[in-house]
């Protein structure tokens, strides 16, 4: 199948390459980057509210679930709740706090997500931190081509960019929606691309039973494991969004029913925009977020006790002038901190995001994104979604912002590395050697270390003004536009045994021939 372009070359889906060996020979090194590596947070997360205030938020969300309840728009979900003793009335399910608590406490506090390349397995939870690229943008853009609708070519190039950028740990969906692939077979082609063009943990959308089954089977083939192993080793994750306020719809619940049943990872994320789908107060929006998240997390445990699940916080606010969502705001930051406190109270890993509302790759996109990361990282997020490439409130995936954000994420990664405090680092001797009025560059202590002493950016331009001006006054946007090309040129398709690739291709071709899934939504 040429259309999904499994083993095609960077930036040119039409050119086939000659197998793994030739790929390695042809592979350019590309711009220097710190390596792909696992990150840990070495400081305590910041608490934005007191323990008493946290308890007040939690108890208010328990009251919401007990008194108002939530709509679960799936008969099997309601049947499971009824069996568990919940108060089911039409679509509405009212939950006793004790029932919610007893279910939530069965969720694991940490687990491993397995990749087809074990070097890219990631731990979720505890003090581990992982980053994903942008997901689910309907539009895509770059400096050269402008803003356009999502399509397969850009989808695949952004997937390649996600593979080559070491800051990216795992996927979180399609960076941009490949809308030129028919919806009936899109999940087949796109998931194959994720599995063949990259060897980082994939994500699948919960879009109904058959698509879920297809994605689970493709991941199983890519990992070359049997069903029992897949059930022991979470290997794919899916985002389950509450249709806030207080509703989980049919495809989302179907996703929990299937992915949780197979011990795969559910990222339960209410979309609680304060002033729109949630109260206008941040505390109120957090009450609702916590009610929806805990109801969803409890439901995963009803489906399969011990199934891996993540508490997703996405509370931000709307711009009250335009009604547009705003991101990277002070309200987002505070909600991100409290979200972490609530997730830790629940005893499950925590997801936040690197988001902004900017329409351009400008100063605003820079400061809004780092404000988001500030809230996410200091809030103790284990999973940072949309880490690289999110622009325009998530409506556009930007090639250049993906590269800039990857640099920013590597800065966060370097910040997370603990400071080395030993005698060699404290270096009273080198200070004595240099003495008052001296200079450190010439001493052995510096010479031994200077090459790798500091974070070295891809994008940031640290030249003095004169050299920078002589070079044409390049902005971060100019640098990132150049780097997009260099990184895609350096992309190498990660190795996959030919028989595995063939099995994947056979599966996709068979399912496409069957017509995929009728577009029922």
């Amino acid at each position: 199948m040429a259309v999904a372009g499994g083993s095609t070359m960077a930036a040119d889906p039409g050119t086939r390459r000659g197998g793994r060996r030739r790929q390695r020979e042809a592979g350019a090194a590309g711009p220097a980057q710190p390596p792909w590596r696992r990150l840990r947070r070495h400081f305590e997360p910041v608490r934005a509210v007191s323990d008493d205030e946290l308890e007040a938020i939690h108890q208010a969300s328990m009251r919401v679930l007990a008194e108002t309840g939530m709509d679960f728009l799936h008969p099997r979900a309601r049947a499971l709740w009824a069996d568990a003793g919940a108060d089911v009335d039409g679509d509405r399910v009212r939950l006793d706090p004790a029932l919610v608590g007893s279910l939530v406490e069965q969720a694991p506090s940490r687990f491993t997500l397995h990749s087809r390349n074990p070097a890219h397995d990631v731990e979720i939870g505890g003090d581990a931190v992982v980053f994903s690229p942008v997901a689910s943008a309907p539009y895509v853009g770059d400096v050269a081509g402008g803003r356009r609708e999502g399509n397969q070519r850009d989808f695949e190039n952004l997937v390649r960019l996600s593979q080559v950028l070491n800051a990216v740990h795992l996927h979180a969906g399609y960076p941009v929606e490949p809308t030129d692939i028919h919806a009936s077979v899109r999940h087949l082609h796109a998931t194959r691309s994720l599995l063949k063009l990259t060897d980082k943990v994939p994500h699948a959308y919960s879009l109904g039973q058959q698509r879920n089954l297809d994605c689970l089977e493709m991941v199983r083939i890519a990992r070359q494991v049997d069903d029992a192993t897949l059930d022991r080793e979470p290997s794919i994750h899916t985002v389950i969004n509450a249709s806030s306020p207080l509703r989980l719809d049919e495809p989302m619940l179907e996703g929990v029913l299937q992915y949780s049943a197979r011990n795969q990872v559910v990222i339960l994320t209410p979309f609680t925009l304060a002033g729109a789908m949630a109260p206008v107060t941040v505390a109120g929006a957090l009450v609702q977020q916590n009610a929806e998240a805990l109801a969803g997390i409890a439901f995963t445990q009803l489906v399969r006790p011990g199934a891996p699940v993540v508490y997703g916080g996405f509370t931000s606010n709307v711009d009250m002038r335009s009604g547009s969502p705003a991101f990277g705001t002070p309200e987002f930051m505070k909600a991100a901190l409290v979200g972490g406190q609530l997730a830790r109270r629940a005893g499950v890993p925590y997801r936040s995001s690197n988001v902004c509302a900017a329409n351009a790759v400008d100063s605003q996109s820079g400061y809004e994104s780092v404000f988001s990361l500030w809230g996410a990282i200091m809030g103790g997020a284990n999973v940072v979604f949309h880490g690289a490439g999110w622009l325009e409130g998530g409506l556009r995936a930007s090639y250049e912002k993906m590269v800039i954000d990857a640099d920013v994420l590597q800065m966060v990664a370097a910040f997370l590395e603990p400071l080395v405090v030993d005698d060699a680092a404290l270096t009273v001797d080198a200070i004595a050697e240099v003495g008052p009025g001296g200079h450190f560059f010439g001493v052995q202590h510096t010479q031994d270390r200077f090459r790798h002493a500091f974070f070295a950016p891809m994008v940031s331009d640290w030249r003095n003004f004169e050299s920078w001006e002589e070079a044409g006054s390049p902005t971060a946007l100019d640098h990132s536009a150049r780097l997009v090309g260099e990184l895609l040129a350096a992309y190498e398709t990660p190795p996959m045994e030919p028989e595995v690739a063939a099995e994947l291709d056979d599966f996709v071709e068979r399912r496409v021939a069957e017509g995929g899934v009728p577009t029922d939504f």
Copy 2:
């Protein structure tokens, strides 16, 4: 004196205005901003090293002071140290840890800096946080006029901008150096401008005895207090930089001798660039920073026990490729966190900065600045210098960046405001009223609050792409360039009694007629 332009109008130093009443009538409201207000940090600062590691850094810096010592390039300073029992050998002073400790512990942990307008008094220390604009840039730039040498017109316009921007609490020097005013009288004209064009706490450079005396007298006149009151009420501050490594030069020590003697505020800030004037390891650079800072702080207490002093942390790293200083780096962030731990160990307020190395107002300037603020704020900084307008590693003051940073600082201020967690905010009732699948905009809880519920930016553009594109696709730089004009147009000279202004003018005219200060440096 027209040259210093005390009561001249924004952006047009040639146009005199007709007194306070007419100024008020003429004053435009300008772009909406949150008010000038005092900020408090409501969370614990983040610890980047353990207590044991902190003690190791501190003890290493004590060893540096005892074994290597510091050069104090001022005979009176050395005489004071000798009297106190220190080991003085030529310029070199070696300090016993017990002596340093007994002096540092006399420094106050918090104090008030008094303005000529008591509404702009600021507390320094504890959990208070204050912001200053950029200081001491040799160049200035804006979109309209490009990059140029510092001059009086731009100096005064940036001072006006600092006055009108509510995010700015106090000054930290000249935003840009007015190099077209002769150095012999520059401090007279420039300090008068700071005192007349604004009513926020001024800063004075420590550039020798006579200049210090002149600035103290001008501040006394502006506040209309006697010398005894000035000595009780700190009303001006001065930055004392160590000439790292391990040296305090003559003008700096003269500054401590005079400002500390008068109970004015000293911000003791070593300039410890790791890999250049400090060890290539961040821990080593912090050892040296702490040695220099504590030696300087101890010296202020030798001059006057109880004199107000601030621990300044400015440790960053050089770019090992170009030798240029880098700012807003992961190393800067970690050093900012540990700097706060060291300052709290010393029991004095802590100063950090909002800095970047970017040459343009682009994504890099946005992310580097917020990374700096992340380190500063989470590190517990009480005073954030260069908060608005710093570009190009401090070589350029940027009009547009000053406006963007002011917005960014207001976001930090909103982030610092505690989350309201009470029944009205938690609003279980509004959630019940809206219920599953509803919308919050129409309910009374939202209607009562939406106008002031969220931070409203000056710069950030939150419109959807279509509206934004129709408006000409303005970037943050475009918005800030427009806002510079609007803000300067809205500038009003703060009230000053005519006789006070006359006294200040008389003093300046007399001292200028005397030739100011011979340019001895």
